[in-house]
Amino acid sequence: MIRKLLQPILAVVLGLALGLGVTWLAGENPLHVFIILAKGAFGSSYDFGMTLFYSTPLIFTGLSVAVAFHAGLFNIGAEGQLTLGALAAAAVGAVWPGLWSPLAPVVAGLAALLAGVLWGAIPGWLRARRGSHEVINTIMLNFVAAGLASYVALYLLKNPASQNPETRPIGTSYLIHQFAIFGGAPVSLALSLALLAAILVWVFLWRTVLGFELRAVGQSESAARAAGIDPGRIRIIAMCLAGGLAGLVGVGEVLGNAGKFRVGFSPEYGFIGIAVALLGRNHPAGVVVAALLFGALHKGAAALDLETERVTQELSLVLQALILLSVSADGLWSWLSRRAPKPIEAQA
């Protein structure tokens, strides 16, 4: 248990140390950079609110990658799924701006969920029934989603009042509650939804039969098959769930923040979700903690452009990449220790 917690922590420390070492090479004081990062992320209630705002989509994408991972699948497609989820929510809100208040955000949220589910179902089905690998398919579908979304934003639902590539605004009845205590940072009910999703994913994976079957397929396809489970069916379900979770990113972005779909709104939330899931050991609680860390890195780094001479906000990508690298080598150690022959024990 202690080792399980220690490894991700060591990976974070190693990644941060390497990344800050890079800033030292650039001629900055690493301690100074670290303090700017920490202040930028947690310095005021507004800063902390922005950290939570960036963490929210990462909880969704982290859960998305984790659920697929438990079924033995790699969901590199969260980026495309969240793009279409956000687009769907924005499209509903733009096409029926007059829908009444309590119903409107629910309908738009369901649209985001459904769009994600559909976009996840495609690689799930392709893997289960055509045998083509989900990694390549999800990568390709990310680009297809980006193309479709930019088509809709530039042609079908173009915002006439703006030069930016974005859809026209959704009706005001769609906007969801923002918490007031964060000094104007757009922390909305989407955060509550993300935490609820984390709890539901935990219940699903460890307290339901279907969740057990899903993990069984992930651990040993042949054993699952021998137990009468159809691995193909489970894989399709897992990718639908993964897609739906990623699609819900649209709730926070569209209903809780922008009020429209903006092309390129996501700073690679889908890819950072891979790091979040891995660092969180694919456990919902770990995902929440890791999402908070990566959200803090993203927010903290935003101040670097102004507050240092030579370090830019892109440092957050470098730090995230280095943490991901450290944890990837490490994820393997545990994989190996699990694979090492030892007596069969009861499922945790």
């Binding site: 390709m140 297809v144 690679e268 890819f271 891995l278 370090v311 990449a321 690298l325 080598a329 190996l336």
Partner: protein, 290 residues
Amino acid sequence: MILQLLASTLRVSTPLIFAALGGMFSERSGVINIALEGLMLIGAFGAAVGAYVTHSPWLGSAAGMSAGLLLAALYGLFVIRWRANQIVAGTAINMLALGLTPFLCKILYDVTGQTPAIPLADRFQAAPLYLSWIMVALCWLWLKYTRGGLWVSFAGEHPEALDAAGIRVNRVRWAAVLASGALAGMGGASLSVFLASSFSRNMTAGRGFIALAALIFGKWKPLPTALACLLFGFAEAVQIRLQGVSLWGGKPIPVQFIQILPYLVTILVLAGFVGRSRPPKALGTPFLRA
């Protein structure tokens, strides 16, 4: 018009061909390479800086290839030496290149957006285009007729057999991954020193993934892969050509549908709807001597 389109197709295919050939070495030897995007990006950056400093596109390309090689060495260290998951490590390499390039750009030139423009005389006119097709031929010959080529294929198809023959599988894979870094770096160099006149942030914009798609579409073979690059390059050329052109009713043509075509085609080919593409058997499996 047609000739112009063909010329433009050949030009924009050049970076794709280099990168796809790079991906081919790595993947034929059994190492997945979704890091092509990042390797290209760092190569484009290295080449732009190199050409700007040395006033020579050739030295610039050498710098770009070295940058790709270095990043590929980091990738190899994690996936071959430490047997890290190749997809995770590849994603990390892409993120690293995306973050590191503007970061270095700021240190060198105090701007994050792009490197200073390289004068026309210090850029390539057509050399990378010819070179890319020479590379296609060389790679084909090398894979087919040399012992090293055979080793690479065996490392990806039957690593145990190669090991039994007394060849170190992981050494072959190391060589292949390093070669993929250098070639992808050259792909990036042909972007920044041949097609454009400087490095700009995220200038690869998915071309590494298009190269990967071409590799799959070309069934991991040199000539079909190069032809797939031409096809995808053609899609890009058409799209550039049609940008802003209006059709009936004065409406602009939505280029997005041409943009997504390579990706859709790849999904269909991989699923066996159009032909069938089969990856090397040991692709993605780390080799551990028994």
